[in-house]
Each structure stands twice: as C-alpha cells, then as structure tokens.
C-alpha cells in the first residue's frame, strides 16, 4: 500500500505529468473558446434581431425610414435565386458526378484532369465567379442584372461542391449492388438509374441541401453582377432585377443609423432561420440514410 501511494505521489508531482495535464487543459480551453465564440455571436445577434422580426418586417419593402423597412423583396429574391440555381445545378452536378464515378475509365488522363480541375474550382474565391458571371451572363449573353444571370452565376459557384458531395455519396454505394445488377443482365445506365442512384439519393440530397445553403448565404458574386439593394416590387419572372437577404443585410449594416443596424440584425435572424430549416432537413435525411 505504502509503495503504491509513493509511486502515485511521484508520478503526480512529476514535471512531465504536470505539463501533460496543462496541455490537455489548454486544448480543452481552445475548443471551449470556439464554442463560446459561436454562442456569444449568435446570442448577441438574436437578442437584437428577434425584436425586429414581425409580420410587418416580413411583408414590407425596404424603406428610407428604418422602422418601416422590411425584407419581403429580399426573401423572395433569395428564394428565386436559390430555386433556379437548384433547378440548373442539381441535374448538371449529379450527372457530372455520375460520369466521374460510374463511367470513369481507370488511369484516364481526361477524367483525372476534370477531377483536379473541380477541386481547383472549389478553391476559387466567390467574387471571381461574380466577375465571370458579369462578363458571361450579364454582358455577353445579354441577360442583364436579372435573377437568371444571378442564378447561373451561383450555379457555376456551387457546381464544384455539388459534384464533390454527389461523388462521395456514389462512392458509398457498395460495389456488390452494382455487380448483382450487371449479373442480372442490366446495362450500365440501368444499373445507375435503378440501383446506384436510388441508394445514393439520401447522401446526394444532403450534399445538395448544404450546397444550396451556401448559395443562400453568398452575396459577393451577386453584388459583382449588379444585384441592387433597393427593390420595391416583387420579382415576377427570371428577367426581373432582384436583391437577396445577404445583400440587404450588407446594405443595412453599412449604414450609420442604429435603426438600420437593428433591421440588419432582424434580417440576419430571418436568414439564419432559413439556413437552420435547410440544415435540419439535411440532418433528417442523413439519419434516414443511415437506417
């Protein structure tokens, strides 16, 4: 007994042991710091913003008087842009992922090149996509500063992400399913259409929702292509001019009046609520996929 006690005493007073525990404590502290930052940030925004959110705020257009300003045009604009982006980006992204995963030829230089190119594109700053969209869609294609031009720009921006997440989902489908399907005489496309895509679907959906939430929060490329901040009518088609929630937040935050900054907090609450709904959907889908 005495011997055990002494040994423990020796280890505990050991410099190395103290250092080790100290380091563990510092590591824990840094994680706690990250979590604390998150909570503090969200709390500060919510406590200011939640009081600003009302039915009047949600159904009014922007105004010069902060108390009357609302986010109706911005919410509708965001929904339009994300909707069209989804319609264009999902089929293209999934088809590209199918090509890279299911039709890939081993050691093909072209497939390798496309793959490297996609990961490079994922690292290009969003504002550079804005410059591309400005030249390509707004000026060359003559779409003007419209919802369509914005959505197509967003499509190019999120496409690498959609492709990468869809590839991950396709990779997770067991090889045996494909082999069984080929064994029954199905062609490659039949195998993809009736076996691989259905089993990869929840994973693909999760990835797509996360990509679309990125599109909802993104504003720099849309500012570059010329989305405006003051819109006093509801967009009715893809050729209308538009604004989105993040741009509205940007505009209100950069004004000196306290009233507009509170309106910005309100708009942030609305934006985060939309993101939260989308992310919960993704989590539910992921849980379903695991069953």
């Amino acid at each position: 007994m005495n011997f055990l006690f002494l040994r423990r005493l020796r280890t505990r007073s050991n410099k190395r042991w103290v250092k080790d525990k100290l380091f563990e404590f510092i590591c824990q502290l840094s994680v706690l710091l990250a979590v604390a930052i998150l909570i503090a940030l969200l709390w500060s925004v919510f406590s200011t913003g939640i009081g600003r959110v009302s039915s009047q705020f949600l159904t009014s257009f922007p105004s010069r008087i902060p108390q009357n300003a609302g986010v109706k045009a911005a919410i509708l604009g965001s929904l339009w842009v994300v909707g069209i982006t989804g319609i264009v980006a999902i089929p293209i992204g999934v088809a590209a992922a199918v090509y890279l995963e299911e039709y890939k030829i081993r050691d093909s230089k072209l497939t390798d090149f496309i793959q490297i190119n996609i990961s490079n594109l994922a690292g290009v700053p969003s504002i550079v996509y804005g410059l591309l969209g400005l030249e390509l869609f707004v000026r060359l294609a003559g779409l003007g500063r419209s919802i369509l031009a914005g959505s197509l720009t967003m499509t190019l921006l999120i496409l690498p992400m959609v492709i990468i997440v869809s590839q991950e989902a396709l990779k997770a489908v067991p090889r045996t399913i494909r082999e069984a399907s080929y064994g029954l005489g199905a062609t490659r496309w039949q195998t993809i259409r009736y076996q691989v895509l259905p089993s990869a679907l929840p994973g693909i959906m999760t990835g797509i929702i996360l990509s679309l939430s990125r599109a909802i929060g993104e504003s720099a490329p849309l500012i570059t292509i010329g989305a405006v901040t003051y819109i006093s009518s509801i967009p009715e088609g893809v050729n209308d001019r538009f604004t989105v929630l993040p741009i509205q937040i940007f505009d209100w935050s950069s004004r000196p009046q306290k009233g507009f900054q509170d309106a910005a907090a309100g708009a942030i609450v609305v934006l985060l609520a939309i993101l939260l709904i989308m992310n919960s959907l993704a989590i539910i889908l992921r849980a379903r996929a695991r069953r």
Partner: protein, 311 residues
C-alpha cells in the same frame, strides 16, 4: 429509346442496338456536364485575362507600375494604379486571420483527435461545422456592430473601420477549416507510431508533440495554406469591417482595403461598363485569382507528397 432503358422492355432482336445507342447518349450527356467544369475554368481565365489586358491597353499603365506602384486611386482625377496597397491590405487580413485561427484550430484538432472522449467529439464537430455554415456577411455585421465597439474600450485610437476586427472575424470564419483539415492530417498518422511512443513511457503531450505533430506536419502546413487562400478570397466580412481605404501599412488599428473589397466598392457604385475604373476590377480579380490559385496548388502538392508517405 426511353422505353428501352427500362429493364425487361428491350426486345431481344432489335432491342440491343437501341439500348447501346441510348447508353452512349447518356454517357455523352454525363460527360458534357462534367466538361462544364473545364469550360468554367477556361471562362474564368479568358474573362480575367482579356479584360485585364483591356485595362492595361486603355489606361497605358505598365504591368510594372501596376504590380509595384504604392498608390491606388483609380477613381480620382489624376488616377494612380498601383496594386500594392490592396495586396498589403489583403496580406494583413490573411496574416491576422491565421494568427487567430491556426493556434486555436490546431489545438482543437489535437484535442478532438488525441484527447477527446467520443461523446465530446460527437458534439464538438457539428458545432464547428455550424461556425462554418454562418454566412460571411453575418460575420461582417458582428465585427462592425459588436467587435469594433468592444475593442475600442481597450484600444482607444482604433478606427471605426479597422484591419484588427476584420482579421479576427475572418480568423473565426476559417477556424473550422483549419481544425477539420488538421484533424484529417493528424488522424492519418498511423496508430503504431503513437503506440511505439507510449510503449517507451511517453506522456500524451510527448507523443503528440514529438511523434504525431512532426509526422502530420505537411498535412498541417497544407491546411494552413488552404486556410490562407480562403482568407485571401474572403469578401463581405472584410468589406464591412476593414473599410475602403487603400493603405500601405502594418498598423492593424487603421482602415485598409483588400482586393476583394475594392471589387465590391466598384461593383456597388455606378461605374460605366468599359471605363477604366470598371476594367480595374478585372485586373484586381486576375491578381486575386493568381494568388489563390498559387496557394491552392502549393497546398495540393504538399498533400500529395505526404499521402505517398503513409498510403
């Protein structure tokens, strides 16, 4: 063709050729979608290079003046086009963000992979992902409305727009990226190396510091470079927090302007298309693209190199 792609519906005699033809068509369609990514890259390079060229031709600025000039005032009556102040602003934000994100991110990664109980990991990882999911404009709002006034109680001569709070919020933004990439690098270190260390009687700190971290160093470096590239391209938070003053300085209390926030400033105003100030955003965009591309390529090289060691 549509019918023949349903299983069982293809007739034995003439079904096979149709099936093969439609198979080829679908394959081509998928290839075309994948090729859009290459077209995007070509588009970016073409747009940036032709418009940047147009800028150099129209403004008669030499590339030397552009890349080495220390005065940036494109909208003034006597315009000056030296990009150094914008690059300097971007560098300040990037360095500042890394000073915030790298130590916290690395320690978080070490904690999550070496120390944390699985339950703690399960909670901490989604929380970090949540940090990454918050839109950048929200960080800008927080910097401007909460962080700067807060910091001004400590630092009296802090300007309303300053590089300091811009750096801090960008640091918070890239923190999840740093920690998740570092964690990947750390978990790629084979377990046997750690066990060898423990077998020799080392403490966790000694194993982490002398075995795991040196082995994961290249991955960690790649993580830091990727995070830098993200910080370089960060736009909305910096525009809101750090201001619009092109400045060659190392003083974080001052207002600066980054390359990205210059592009936003010109895009927001009503600059006539085709004018010289309008063309500058493409020249600045091209510089930004080259810098981030360079950083990404270096990071990918490092990652490839270290994969070879353990794969």
């Amino acid at each position: 063709m549509a019918i023949s792609s349903k299983p069982g519906s293809s007739r034995p005699i003439d079904g096979v050729p149709t099936r093969l033809r439609s198979e080829k068509f679908i394959r081509f369609l998928c290839f075309a979608c994948a090729a859009i990514s290459i077209l995007t890259t070509i588009g970016i390079v073409l747009v940036l290079s032709t418009e940047a060229m147009a800028f150099f031709v129209k403004s008669k600025v030499t590339p030397k003046e552009f890349f080495l000039g220390t005065d940036w005032s494109p909208t003034f009556n006597d315009p000056k086009f030296g990009i150094v102040p914008l690059v300097c602003g971007t560098a300040m934000i990037t360095i500042g963000a890394c000073v915030v994100a790298v130590p916290i991110g690395l320690l978080t990664a070490i904690f999550l992979s070496e120390y944390a109980h699985p339950t703690v990991r399960k909670i901490a990882k989604p929380v970090l992902e949540l940090l990454a999911g918050i839109p950048t404009v929200v960080y800008g709002y927080i910097a401007l409305v909460y962080l700067t006034p807060g910091l001004r109680t400590f630092i009296k001569d802090l300007q309303v727009f300053n590089a300091l709070s811009g750096s801090i919020v960008v640091g918070i933004m890239i923190l999840p990226l740093v920690s998740s990439l570092c964690e990947d690098a750390i978990s790629a270190v084979p377990k046997g190396l750690r066990e060898g260390g423990y077998g020799l009687g080392s403490t966790k700190l000694e194993v982490t510091g002398k075995i795991v971290l040196p082995s994961a160093l290249s991955g960690i470096m790649a993580a830091v470079i990727l995070a830098m590239s993200r910080a370089v391209g960060e736009t909305m938070a910096v525009t809101l927090a750090a201001g619009q003053t092109p400045n060659v300085t190392a003083d974080y209390r001052q207002s600066i302007q980054t390359m990205t926030s210059y592009i936003v400033q010109i895009s927001k105003g009503d600059t006539p298309t085709g004018s010289i100030p309008f063309l500058t955003i493409f020249a600045v965009g091209a510089t930004l693209f080259l810098i981030t591309m360079g950083l990404n390529i270096v990071a990918i090289r490092i990652v490839r190199k270290y994969r070879k060691v353990y794969a």
